[in-house]
């Protein structure tokens, strides 16, 4: 196997592992649009990274985190409905990012690479970010698992029972921000949410507990990466979108099978 393919495989698998449990929360809590908004803002992070010569990964994580914080505080003001707010922030941060990148005329930023990912160009350095960041995210999810579930079931009930609801919600947003930053390389800004949502939604068909759903989502994600990369090398299709198409095929197959819902 050529080295670039091995790196791509390892990178894709790392991202799929983390995306499973986190994607399950995105599905349960109906945060798909929120994930999209954070992802769109990542391009702004890239532009800031180039401008101030900061590590791209770091710049993207900080940009997502800052956006998540702004979002939470704007949500509290109740100026407009949350989905309107998300729409405004998603597309204006993407546009701001595109404008900012175009103004950086001395640096060539390959837009396609960031918008759709370049899985086949993953470097060992990217792998450190994926596995380092991924390990931290998984560890935190594992430690916060019960409060995260409690908050997902009912926030007020959780609060009465002593769960620090505001902090847990914030933690979840930050985790999503980190995953977006590390997954960007694999499927790109525009497709990141699909990697969170599609395997989790497919896993719902097979799972009878939240834990099962998280694990199955990770496994399905890994299979999608394998299938997508195989298709990409066979038919010379773009790697990131091929992975998403593979995930879609899984979803369609699982939902057309006559499975009985267990829980």
């Amino acid at each position: 196997m050529p080295e670039f393919l091995l790196l791509a495989l390892l990178g894709g698998i790392g991202v799929a592992l983390v995306a499973g449990p986190l994607g399950s929360f995105v599905v349960w809590r109906r945060m798909a649009y929120f994930g999209d908004t954070l992802a769109h803002s990542a391009l702004l992070g890239i532009a800031v990274g180039v401008l101030f010569d900061i590590n791209f990964n770091l710049a993207v994580v900080s940009c997502c985190v800052i956006l998540a914080l702004i979002l939470v505080s704007l949500q509290r003001q109740r100026l407009v409905a949350t989905d309107t707010l998300l729409g405004i922030m998603a597309h204006s941060s993407l546009s701001l990012g595109l404008v900012a990148v175009s103004l950086l005329d001395d640096v060539r930023v390959d837009l396609m690479e960031y918008l759709f990912g370049d899985l086949l160009a993953i470097t060992p350095n990217d792998l450190y970010w994926i596995y380092g960041g991924g390990a931290i995210v998984l560890l935190l999810i594992w430690r916060l698992w019960n409060p995260l579930l409690a908050v997902t079931i009912n926030e007020e009930l959780a609060q009465v029972e002593g769960v620090p609801v505001a902090r847990i919600r914030l933690a979840l947003m930050l985790l999503i921000g980190v995953v977006i930053a590390i997954a960007m390389k694999v499927v790109g800004i525009l497709l990141i949410t699909s990697l969170l949502i599609i395997p989790a939604a497919s896993a719902r068909r097979l799972a009878s507990s939240p834990e099962q759903m998280a694990v199955i989502a990770s496994l399905l994600g890994i299979v999608a990466v394998l299938l997508g990369l195989y298709a990409s090398s066979q038919f010379d299709t773009p790697a990131g979108p091929s992975v998403v198409v593979a995930a879609l095929v899984q979803f369609l197959v699982l939902y057309s099978l006559p499975l009985r819902r267990v829980a």
């Binding site: 349960w28 079931i153 609060q159 507990s209 099962q212 267990v262 829980a263």
Partner: protein, 264 residues
């Protein structure tokens, strides 16, 4: 505060952006007592309950809770997304550290032991309410707070649910604060009724409250008609009288179904 009281509220005011929802409310929750909050929609019942729970902070006034108070809370509705795979058993496990036997016992005391392995998405309204109640019991509460426990439950189920709540109070020796729409259905199972319409209109023993002019003014004839209608189904005697008879007077007759049957 008095060590005998679980919660003491004095001169509570809560307003949301100039909009006063709770006005000068004072009340006390004592151990082992069932307190029912009644009042029209938008009267501030849920707001008051949330203040007791500590979910809302008072604009002015004071809420004192006994320092070690353990509260079991049952919200109005849960809204668990159907994508969330959750059995009753797993749902109960999120409540508190409890043994298998504890969970079984909690389900038994709400008469829902057969639901353990079922998905929460397949439960009926009444079943879900009982499972939520069981979850609240797992926390071994001194105070049970129930926000409209009878919501989405048909009228026979409601009667059963309220008697269940009364039996839970006796078994767990906890105090209960609940919201209800229909005083007549909860009367038998209530020690203290607080009739709320932003301020406390009247409060006291259920029979006292139901004959209070301010209660009549708030709930008027419609509530009384409901009672008459409800009684039709179970007791012909009321039909002949045609009078408004509070449920408590007919309680013994209602409970005695063979007697009822004799009239059919």
């Amino acid at each position: 505060m008095s060590p005998d009281n679980l919660v003491e509220i004095t001169g509570l005011n809560i307003s949301f952006s100039e909009n006063s929802v709770i006005e000068n409310v004072s009340m006390v929750l004592k151990p082992g007592q069932i307190t029912t909050l009644i009042g029209p929609n938008g009267a501030g019942k849920t707001t008051l309950v949330k203040a007791v729970l500590g979910l809302l902070s008072p604009t002015s006034g004071e809420i004192k809770r006994s320092p070690t108070l353990r509260i079991g809370y049952m919200p109005q509705k849960l809204h668990i997304d159907t994508t969330f795979p959750l059995t009753v058993e797993r749902f109960l496990k999120t409540a508190a550290f409890a043994s298998v036997a504890d969970r079984q016992q909690a389900l038994e005391s709400v008469r829902a032991e057969n639901l353990l392995k079922q998905s929460v998405h397949s439960l009926s309204g009444g079943e879900m309410q009982r499972v939520m109640l069981a979850r609240a019991l797992l926390r071994k509460p001194e105070l049970l707070v129930l926000d409209e426990p009878a919501q989405g439950v048909d009228i026979n189920g409601q009667v059963e649910l309220y008697s269940l709540i009364a039996s839970i109070r006796d078994k767990y020796n906890c105090s209960v604060l609940m919201i209800s729409h229909d005083l007549h259905l909860v009367m038998a199972a209530t020690d203290q009724v607080i009739c709320l319409n932003h301020h406390i209109c009247c409060s006291g023993h259920p029979e006292q409250v139901s004959s209070d002019p301010s209660y009549m003014e708030l709930f008027g004839v419609p509530g009384a008609e409901n009672l008459a209608l409800y009684s039709h189904h179970h007791n012909h005697q009321h039909n002949e009288h045609g009078d408004i008879v509070p449920l408590s007077q007919s309680e013994s007759e209602d409970a005695d179904h063979s007697h009822c049957g004799g009239h059919h």
